[in-house]
Amino acid sequence: MNKKNYISTFLYYLLATLIAAAMLVPLFWMISTSFKNKGALMALPIQWIPKEPTFDNFVRLFDTPGFIGSMGNSLVVAVASVALTLISSSLAAFAFAKIKFRGRESIFLLYLASMMIPTQVLFIPLYLVMSELKLTDTLTALILPGIFRAFAVFMLRQKMKTIPDEYMDAAAMDGASLGRTFFQIIAPMCKGIFATLGIILFMESWNDYLLPLVMLQSNSKFTMPIILSAMSGQFKNQYNLMMAGALISMVPILILYAVAQKYFKAGLQVGGVKG
């Protein structure tokens, strides 16, 4: 390696590390704060590493009414809405990709058009629909909208279209019903997309703020982001407690990322499609 290469390698690592360090400062500060006691929190000069680290914040957090419940709520909502979306969307995608019927293209166009209207525009009437269904302040209000996800239908349809029709014909010849063909042939071939979609949707649901903020009123129904933002009002300046909460809320997604990085990467490519 010549001298010029050494310099460029050095500059590369310098820049990459500087940016990484800058991006980690807030996260480091969160972790550091979550182990601080009350005194260290407001100590000047600030303590980058707490002098007397303590687990108190985590203990107090778990004693806070509704906190443990909110973890459960978030998990239930995320898992249930992912399952609902995958089932309903793959069924619809199957119809769009593999069954011929009149109006297929126009209905699908309607699906695509619906992607242009974001939740940010529709959350008021969505709240009204939910209150009409007597579902406000229930977790169901957060799960049920997952039944219609145009972008999931779109992705699954794309995948199913790449499956040759011969599979369908072969199954039909064997006397398999359409349902059996779907469950035993088509759905298993979409495993990769299911995993990718599942991860995008899980993360979206786990981190969602707007919909639960609009739908939920009582403490016992709160999801993690909502209880965290409620705490910031309730505990005013007790940032050690809030940082501990933020840290805990991040852990499941980080674990998921560590385990399934491959699908995150694929998900990102598709996530772009979502717009």
Binding site: V25, W29, L91, P125, F148, Y167, I185, S232, L254, Y257
Partner: protein, 336 residues
């Protein structure tokens, strides 16, 4: 099962090469399936859940929201959108008066200017940073994997957690940012408590949160550029910067355009960071933005009709951006 299917597929392929006019019983079965005139009967059960969801959670809200935006509704009276909704709409119909009222107020322009201000600060910063991240992660140095993970962590964080962290990081007295600034001799501002710095603070947090996401999109764009271009340029003696300027940037233009459009739409939808980082939309309403206003009008002030008109103005903006994207894409972005 899969093996069976493959075997049968093979059989079909053989059948398809048979001379025209060849028929047997099996062939008839699957030809029937492919030309179903009664397809809708077969498709209906599969479409049902999704269509039901579309009707309830997309079409109905759109129609209801359009109607509400044209009614005088304080939000105090209970209105059912299943029973007697249209009677209510007819009785309280005021046409486009809500929209007219919105545009007569100074507020909408202030709010839109805040979104625009966010955009002006956010977009250049985000584009530069995410492109740098993409180049770093796209290189062939050894530690690339580590950087990739680090740059991606903020994307995985929920906005509420991210916003809480930034609120505390930007604390004027106890925050590390002002501590670092103090170290190099700058007295940091009061960030979120300052009318001038509140929006830049939100931009800072948003760039931190989003640059990994857009960086990965840029990475996809970088990787789709054929290495042959670079090799040819190298032979011609082009420097790294020249190669970046004359090959990477132009060939990356579709990705750049796409990222710009995404972030443009995103800029008009910012919400959680504003809600969590700035209580009551900042000092003197410095961080009042579209979605935050819609939420406050509807759920804090009960001005439903007004809020619905705001929603549709927001939609009109997003729609215009999307149309613009389609037009421009056809015009000057060249896909290979």
């Amino acid at each position: 099962m899969a093996n069976d299917t493959r075997r049968i597929c093979e059989k079909i392929r053989q059948a398809e090469t048979l001379p025209a006019g060849f028929h047997n019983e099996e062939w008839g079965t699957f030809m029937k399936l492919r030309n179903q005139k009664t397809g809708i009967v077969a498709a209906f059960p599969y479409l049902l859940p999704s269509l039901l969801g579309m009707a309830l959670f997309s079409v109905l809200p759109i129609v209801a929201s359009l109607c509400i935006s044209m009614t005088r509704w304080s939000g105090m009276t209970h209105v059912s959108i299943f029973h007697g909704f249209f009677t209510f709409v007819k009785e309280n119909f005021i046409g486009f008066q809500n929209y007219a009222a919105v545009f007569q107020e100074k507020e909408i322009w202030t709010v839109l200017s805040h979104n625009a201000y966010f955009l002006v600060l956010y977009m250049p910063l985000m584009l530069c940073m995410s492109l740098i991240l993409a180049v770093i992660v796209g290189s062939d140095h050894k530690a690339v994997g580590v950087y990739r993970v680090i740059y991606y962590i903020p994307v995985l964080t929920s906005w509420v957690a991210g916003a809480l962290i930034w609120k505390w990081v930007l604390s004027s007295q106890y925050g590390p940012i002002n501590d670092i600034l103090g170290f190099v001799g700058i007295k940091g501002p009061a960030w979120l408590q300052s009318e001038i710095w509140a929006m830049p603070s939100i931009v800072l947090a948003s760039v931190w949160k989003d640059m990994g996401f857009y960086g990965m999109i840029f990475l996809g764009g970088l990787q789709s550029i054929s290495p042959e271009y670079y090799e040819a340029a190298k032979i011609d003696g082009a420097s790294a910067w020249q190669r970046f300027k004359s090959i990477t940037l132009p060939l990356l233009s579709p990705t750049t355009f796409y990222v710009m459009i995404l972030s443009l739409i995103n800029a008009f939808q910012i919400f959680p960071q504003v809600m969590v980082m700035t209580t009551d939309a900042g000092p003197n309403g410095a961080t009042q933005v579209m979605v935050e206003r819609i939420y406050k009008f509807a759920f804090s002030f009960g001005k439903m009709g007004y809020a619905a008109s705001y929603s549709w103005i927001l939609f009109a903006i997003i729609f215009a951006i999307t149309i613009f994207q389609n037009l421009m894409q056809r015009k000057w972005v060249h896909y290979e």
